[in-house]
Symmetry: C2
């Protein structure tokens, strides 16, 4: 790994300063899923193009990643991609079905299925590196966040065959065949680490590891079945010079453990106030979050009050990256997002 | 309200003793959704009969409620019903669609929609009272738990028009039209209280108020928009002589507030260990829970270890009713449930 040096304006950006727990001119703000269906310009460029195909076209990835930066003036861009992109690139037979999500042709049930998952080579995701190289000059002083799905969340898709509310098959495999489970997660951790290293080498300024569904687990199960594999990914980026953000939903009881996975910044959903979260995560990590995405449907004065509350609670943390507590919902009015960016900047100006 | 006196064997049952935080011969155990799709005898009697229709037939309700008592030897029966039964009985146009859940013909968006929701009269749920009267002699010493959905969860179905992952419309109504929201919840609290009083009068020995989706809210929103209405329901049963159990999923941050709603017993999902939950709920309330329903798919030795852990953690509480952390999943092997009952009894025998 030989990360491209970042321009000084990126290194000194409010986003990277907050990740490093250094004071900055204002609290930085970006939104999970900011590059996506809430934007009419996104729906326009995506028209007729499948999700996986759009993630493989550097020109489209570049355009879509830039859209929310242009429109909202967010403090960071996040690479447009999907957590199953590296799996598809490695050769796992899956598709992203509109209205459903990832659908896997042959779900994992046994060790042979795990062994059949190919490793990922950097060349297989050249288009991602190319998109990042296209993006950097366009972004100027705005840092670009790379991302990947964490082993547990990827494993859940592979074991369930698609999205699941209960993760019952996933947990059954964990409990019933821990050797298969750990082999699966080791393979996924390798793929994820390769995917993130490609992004770091191509020039992302930070990475976010999404363990979207980790909140389905108790802390004991998380520590036994998940933490070692997330640690392998985040630990593999130690010394790479990029802050590592780690996020999941419904993780009230997991925040301490998720911080231990090797995160520099822990993402928090809207259920746990940031001051409470900081108590669990510790003073050596920044926090990211945590406006309820549904407050974007609220009247302006309610939304403002909620933004103020999140900023106030975030002052308890040694560093705060303002974000939602989960992704932007597709039916969100983009103007509400633009107003939140302006308000965060105004209220937090130092 | 003039609750029927319970037989001494019911009053002294391990279940009611645990609810009252009194020591008993063993830790009582029952399972949310124990009367349901995991049982072949349930699928047989339900064949060709719609969910709402089956809830309206006292003979069927009686049979289905008894099935898990006969099969597993659980320490309590729970009335077979659905949280939308009182709404349908009052005249709200809705149906329970297999594979989807409740679907409401005309979702609530304005005050006129709230005013159009009729009040519930006791006579409209006579069939529920009749089922309870049929059940009591059949159940003998086994206590019968009545139940209802809490205002927030019912409101979510009425506002969204059906099940929702995000509850976005519900929260938008809360934030944007709090007068409509509170009027809706007041009406729902009245209906729920009427429904529970019918059950208490007919002879249930305890009630459980399900606020299944409350965990979608931050504590601040829960306290502002939900707690007063749940309090109105649970407070309306004060002095009725029946323990009140209050349960929701993903409520790590809400346990203190949910206890304040007027519960004698707070149900806890599997994410929060019972000893941790007790610290939040306080020593004046019992807890119920909290085996992960997915552990029922685990090998016998893993399941046993988890049952032991839950019992151990439950010893920190002043009273413990063993249960799952959420409902029995339809694909569960009923024999696993039977084994859990035997194991809980064996391990907790005093």
């Amino acid at each position: 790994m030989s990360p491209s040096p970042q321009p000084a304006a990126v290194t000194d950006s409010p986003f990277l300063r907050a990740c490093r727990r250094e004071p900055g001119p204002h609290t930085p703000v970006w939104f999970m899923r900011q590059a996506g269906r809430s934007l009419p310009e996104y729906r326009q460029v995506r028209a007729g193009i499948g999700m996986l195909e759009s993630c493989r076209r550097p020109d489209l990835v570049c355009e879509i990643t830039l859209q929310p930066v242009r429109r909202h003036g967010v403090d960071a861009a996040i690479l447009f991609s999907d957590i199953v992109v590296p799996l598809a690139a490695a050769g796992v037979d899956l598709d992203i079905v509109p209205g459903t999500g990832p659908v896997v042709a042959k779900p994992v049930t046994a060790l042979a299925d795990v062994e059949a998952i190919p490793k990922l080579s950097s060349e297989q995701v050249d288009y991602v590196a190319e998109a990042i190289r296209l993006l950097r000059p366009e972004l100027g002083a705005t840092p670009l966040i790379g991302f990947a799905g964490a082993p547990f969340t990827l494993a859940s898709y592979l074991v369930e065959g698609g999205p699941s509310r209960t993760h019952a098959k996933t947990k059954a495999l964990m409990y019933g065949a821990p050797d298969v489970w750990h082999a699966l997660c080791r393979r996924l951790a390798e793929i994820t680490l390769t995917f993130l290293r490609v992004q770091v080498d191509a020039g992302v300024a930070a990475v976010q590891l999404f363990d979207s569904w980790a909140g389905a687990l108790s802390e004991a199960d998380y520590r036994r079945y998940v933490l070692p594999h997330s640690k392998a990914v985040l630990g593999g980026l130690e010394g790479a010079g990029v802050p590592r953000i780690h996020f999941g939903v419904g993780t009230a009881e997991l925040l301490t453990a998720m911080g231990e996975a090797g995160a520099d910044v822990v993402g928090v959903d809207w259920r746990t106030p940031l001051n409470v979260a900081t108590g669990r995560i510790g003073a050596d990590k920044a926090v990211q979050g945590n406006l309820d995405p549904c407050t974007l449907f609220a009247p302006a004065e309610v939304l403002s009050a909620e933004v103020r509350r999140v900023l106030d609670e975030g002052r308890a943390a040694p560093g705060h990256v303002f974000n939602l507590g989960h992704g932007v919902l597709p039916e969100t009015d983009p103007d509400a997002l633009t107003r939140v960016v302006a308000l965060v900047h105004e209220l937090s100006a130092r």
